[in-house]
Each structure stands twice: as structure tokens, then as C-alpha cells.
């Protein structure tokens, strides 16, 4: 995976969490994972297609999600599946949206699909053939994980850039 593709996700996640939680955040772990993905809590999976293809997973425990929701609401939020799902979904949307903005400004074109939320025991099958970068971000609410498995499609970009010749 090329670092120039990963960096916007790291920057966006850092900016979104710091702004949303009104506190500094820190990347405490960053590692390549080649095994099937194992969810740590509630995960939002976002698929990307175009010049860049792959998927990004935002993953946090329900307890962390409730703390994040309370922080965003400015008061204690009652724990429920709906609150957890909404929180993870909105955080994922913000991180991916900001990352896409950064990548698009650098000339990469692609489509982002709405997040799929996985919170039951069976959800989110692993993708054994996909090498992923897993980033652990420490926040005052607890750890948030970002799992990124994307690659650059040079061929797709060349096809898009090709201009038909006129006689």
C-alpha cells in the first residue's frame, strides 16, 4: 500500500476525532495485518471504487461509542444499539468524507459507498487475501481503530485520462 494514499486517512481521522471530542488524540499503534479481519467492537465498513479501490473499517467498542456520543451531545447519553450504531456511522462518514476530500484535491477520483454497520456476532467476514494497515488512535473516550485496505488502480486512471483522437 502506498503511504500517499494512507496519509490522508490518518490526517482526517486525527482532525475529526480531535475536533469532535475537543481533545488531542494520539496514534499509539500502527501495524500491517495480513490475517482475516477480527472486529474489536462495532464496525462501520466503507467500500471505495475508482482510481483507488478497497475498503476502510472504523471500529470501536460499544462503551467507547457511548462515551463519544455523550461527548458529542454535551451530556450523558443513554446506552442503546441505536446510539452506538449512529455514533459509529457518523464518525466513519466524517473520517471518510474528509479523507476523500484530501485525496480528491490531489486528483484521485472514486466513489464512496454508504457505511455498512456490523455489530452482531456474525457480522463482517474477514478478507484473508487483503493486506490491511491497522491504526489504533488513542482518544479520551478510549481507543478507536481504523483498518485500511486500499490500492491504487493505475490502469483505471489511465483509461479515464485517455482522450480519444479525432481525425
Amino acid at each position: 500500500m502506498r503511504m500517499e494514499l494512507i496519509q490522508p486517512f490518518i490526517n482526517a481521522a486525527d482532525a475529526v476525532f480531535a475536533e469532535s471530542l475537543q481533545a488531542p488524540t494520539k496514534i499509539v499503534d500502527l501495524e500491517m495485518e495480513e490475517d482475516a479481519y477480527r472486529r474489536k467492537g462495532v464496525a462501520a465498513l466503507i467500500v471505495i471504487k475508482g482510481d483507488i479501490e478497497g475498503r476502510v473499517i472504523l471500529d470501536l467498542s460499544p462503551e467507547v461509542a457511548i462515551k463519544v456520543a455523550s461527548q458529542l451531545a454535551g451530556s450523558e447519553v443513554e446506552a442503546s444499539d441505536l446510539v452506538v450504531r449512529e455514533t459509529v456511522c457518523e464518525m466513519a462518514n466524517m473520517v471518510i468524507g474528509n479523507s476523500v476530500t484530501l485525496l480528491n484535491d490531489r486528483g484521485f477520483h472514486f466513489k464512496v459507498f454508504p457505511p455498512e454497520i456490523h455489530m452482531d456476532d456474525q457480522g463482517l467476514a474477514g478478507s484473508a487475501d487483503t493486506e490491511a494497515l491497522v491504526i489504533c488512535i488513542e482518544t479520551p473516550c478510549g481507543n478507536i481503530y481504523l483498518n485500511i485496505a486500499i490500492h491504487y488502480l493505475h490502469r483505471r486512471r489511465q483509461e479515464r485520462s485517455a482522450v480519444p483522437t479525432l481525425d
Binding site: 475529526v16 475536533e19 469532535s20 456520543a69 458529542l72 451531545a73 454535551g74 446510539v83 449512529e86 455514533t87 456511522c89 457518523e90 462518514n93 466524517m94 473520517v95 471518510i96 468524507g97 474528509n98 476523500v100 476530500t101 480528491n104 484535491d105 464512496v112 454508504p114
Partner: protein, 150 residues
């Protein structure tokens, strides 16, 4: 928490907002800010189609509109609302802030764009700017009740 001077209409009534976002969470967050600015939530919608119906029903002073939504996306909803109500004031609120998106929204009639996560002070300034063409304000900038404190 930072406090803001209330944004009010020229007739001293609270500014009425329509909040459009498919995420209940995002809507709550925006509503919290609207209350902080002394505004009133006239309606809510979770997609573009409902937003058009709600606009016709509540006739808000300002619409805060997400872009990526089910059924009908925000940019198409802007186009349809502005076609029927040329003076509609719509501010796009989205996490996807690349140039093509912003330009498309502005070309369809949106007045401004703010990227998520929304900073209250940024939204406040944008609303002040957008409300400055309030017909009820007869050309004057939006009337502010009280001084801004920090």
C-alpha cells in the same frame, strides 16, 4: 462552552431552520448549535424528498442540508427547492468537501458550504453572512441581540 449572540430576524423573531441529514446524530448536533445561536427548529428531514415537502410546509429562513442521503441527494433537493423558491437560503453541511461537490451545490443555488465536523463558530459566521440578505432586514445585516461573549 462558547456563547454566541442570538441570530434573530429583523422582526426580532428567532431564525427558523430546516435541518436535513439522514443521520439522527448529525441532526441532533446541528440542532444543539441552532439552539446555541438562539434559533428555532421549524422542521427536520432525513432525505431530499422529505426536505422538499418540509420546506413547502414550514417555509424556513434557512436550510442546513447534507449532501449524501438516501432517496434524493442534497444537491438535487437544492435544485428543486430553489426552482420553486428562488430566495431560499440553503447551506450545505457535508463531510465530503471537495471542489466539484461545492461547485455543484453552489451552481444549483446553495448559498454556502460547511464541512463536517462542524465547528460552531464557523457555522455561526456562515449563518450571519447568509442571513445578511434577509428580506425582512431590508438590506441591513442580520440583527443581533446582545454582544458576543467568549
Amino acid at each position: 462552552m462558547k456563547q454566541f449572540a442570538a441570530l434573530v430576524r429583523k422582526d426580532n423573531r428567532p431564525v427558523r431552520y430546516l435541518v436535513v441529514d439522514d443521520s439522527v446524530f448529525a441532526r441532533k448536533n446541528l440542532i444543539k448549535m441552532i439552539e446555541l445561536f438562539g434559533g428555532e427548529v421549524a422542521g427536520e428531514a432525513g432525505d431530499g424528498l422529505t426536505a422538499i415537502a418540509e420546506f413547502n410546509r414550514v417555509n424556513p429562513d434557512i436550510v442546513l442540508m447534507d449532501i449524501t442521503m438516501p432517496q434524493m441527494e442534497g444537491i438535487e433537493a437544492v435544485e428543486r427547492i430553489v426552482r420553486q423558491h428562488a430566495s431560499a437560503r440553503i447551506v450545505m453541511v457535508s463531510s465530503v468537501g471537495y471542489q466539484e461537490n461545492i461547485l455543484a451545490a453552489l451552481q444549483k443555488g446553495a448559498k454556502h458550504f460547511v464541512q463536517k465536523p462542524v465547528k460552531p463558530e464557523v457555522l455561526y459566521e456562515i449563518l450571519r453572512y447568509v442571513l445578511s440578505d434577509d428580506p425582512n432586514a431590508t438590506g441591513a445585516p442580520v440583527a443581533l441581540a446582545g454582544e458576543q461573549r467568549s
